[in-house]
């Protein structure tokens, strides 16, 4: 699917850029974005190392297993393919907790650690598992208890009641999580998205 989406984006950009007379802009954006991607990734190194170090201590001391057991009933239902007590349960739990608290600096490294743990259960390297897709759905919804960035912008824009948006953001955010997880659970059963199909297409292309 990413093959088609990616190609469509590029075709669309060049065609639309040509029509709008912004083709030079397209070139500039492509090059700037590529450079920016590296800046983002390099910027992650320190934070990644910090959180992976802490997670290693948590693993060695058995803390990850305790964390995982704490909300196991919910997690088991969300991720039936992940065995009880697997490290992925601990890292996914910590990622979701960090996201909810709005600690995005911690959430990304913990999420990537969770992906590594989930990859250990993957029988088809290169192809996403059901658990990964569900986990991604939770993360792309990015449910936060306090939308701190937006509250900051509201108050710097002169709002008399900058926290008025908390309730509406929470409600819409909850819908995002529920819709994302439901969609992931339903779509994983479709033949169009089956692992076998993804595997076959990998060989032919």
């Amino acid at each position: 699917m990413l093959n088609y989406i990616w190609l469509s984006m590029i075709i669309l950009a060049v065609v639309v850029g040509g029509i709008n007379g912004k083709i030079e802009n397209v070139t500039k954006s492509a090059i700037d974005s590529a450079a920016n991607a590296v800046v983002i990734a390099i910027g992650l190194i320190g934070i990644m190392a910090l959180w992976l170090g802490i997670v290693k201590i948590a693993e060695d001391s058995g803390l990850m297993r305790i964390v995982a057991r704490a909300i196991a009933p919910i997690m088991r239902r969300l991720f039936p393919d992940v065995p009880d007590g697997h490290p992925a349960m601990g890292s996914m739990t910590m990622n979701i907790a960090a996201t909810m608290l709005g600690l995005s600096n911690a959430a990304t490294p913990l999420g990537l650690k969770a992906m590594e743990d989930l990859e250990k259960l993957n029988k088809n390297p290169g192809i996403a598992t059901n658990a990964m897709c569900t986990f991604l759905a939770v993360n792309t919804a990015g449910f936060q208890l306090i939308p701190a960035t937006m509250i900051g912008i509201m108050s710097s824009s002169g709002s008399k009641d900058p926290t008025a948006i908390i309730g509406t953001t929470l409600a819409a955010g909850l819908v995002a999580v529920v819709a994302g997880v439901t969609a992931a659970k339903l779509l994983q059963k479709l033949p169009l998205f089956s692992v076998e199909r993804a595997d076959r297409k990998g060989e032919s292309s």
Binding site: W51, A172, A179
Partner: protein, 178 residues
């Protein structure tokens, strides 16, 4: 009140965590310094591994933005959505949201400042922005970290969540603020 409590939790969560984990580890007999360094080694490889995925996605999104395709899409879809009572002013923010976090933030801020932060549109823009994450960025980074090239249904599930939360934001904001 609730916001204060949650705010305090946000400030204290990381220092407490950074203290509690090594402390617990030490109590369980883990050589904490050695374990930390051992784990931290992975940070470099992981950050480097996501670069090609991130370049691919951000480049395509950057090109779309540079071409003015997002404004164009908003202009086309606007009249249709207006008929069903959708506030079209928010559409460019909504289209940008899954593609670029900073792009959407900029557009939402502009909308908030143009219409006023306490206006219906300002609050709707803020709620719609805060209710979801930058889907394509998350996909690129998370899948990139473990070399996943076949995303299967993850893209569609992420976009379903984006659309659902946008519709929910419009409905909830209508009920709360209009």
């Amino acid at each position: 009140m609730i916001q204060n409590i949650l705010g305090t939790i946000s400030i204290w969560a990381i220092p407490v965590f950074l203290l509690a984990v090594p402390l617990y580890g030490a109590c369980r007999g883990v050589k904490v310094y050695e374990a930390f360094v051992e784990g931290a080694k992975g940070g470099f490889q992981m950050a480097i591994r996501i670069i090609p995925y991130l370049v691919a996605i951000l480049m395509a999104i950057g090109m779309l933005r540079g071409a003015g395709a997002i404004d164009m899409l908003a202009q086309w879809a606007g009249p249709v959505l207006e008929k069903i009572g959708f506030p079209v002013e928010i559409l460019p923010v909504a289209i940008m949201r899954p593609l670029s976090g900073s792009g959407a933030l900029g557009m939402a801020t502009e909308l908030i400042q143009t219409h006023g932060p306490d206006s219906f549109l300002g609050r709707l823009a803020a709620s719609a922005y805060g209710a979801t994450e930058t889907t394509f960025y998350v996909l690129a980074v998370y899948f990139g970290a473990v070399g996943i090239r076949k995303a299967r249904h993850a893209v569609l599930a992420g976009l379903v969540a984006d659309v659902a939360s946008l519709v929910a934001a419009v409905i909830v904001c209508r009920l709360a603020f209009a």
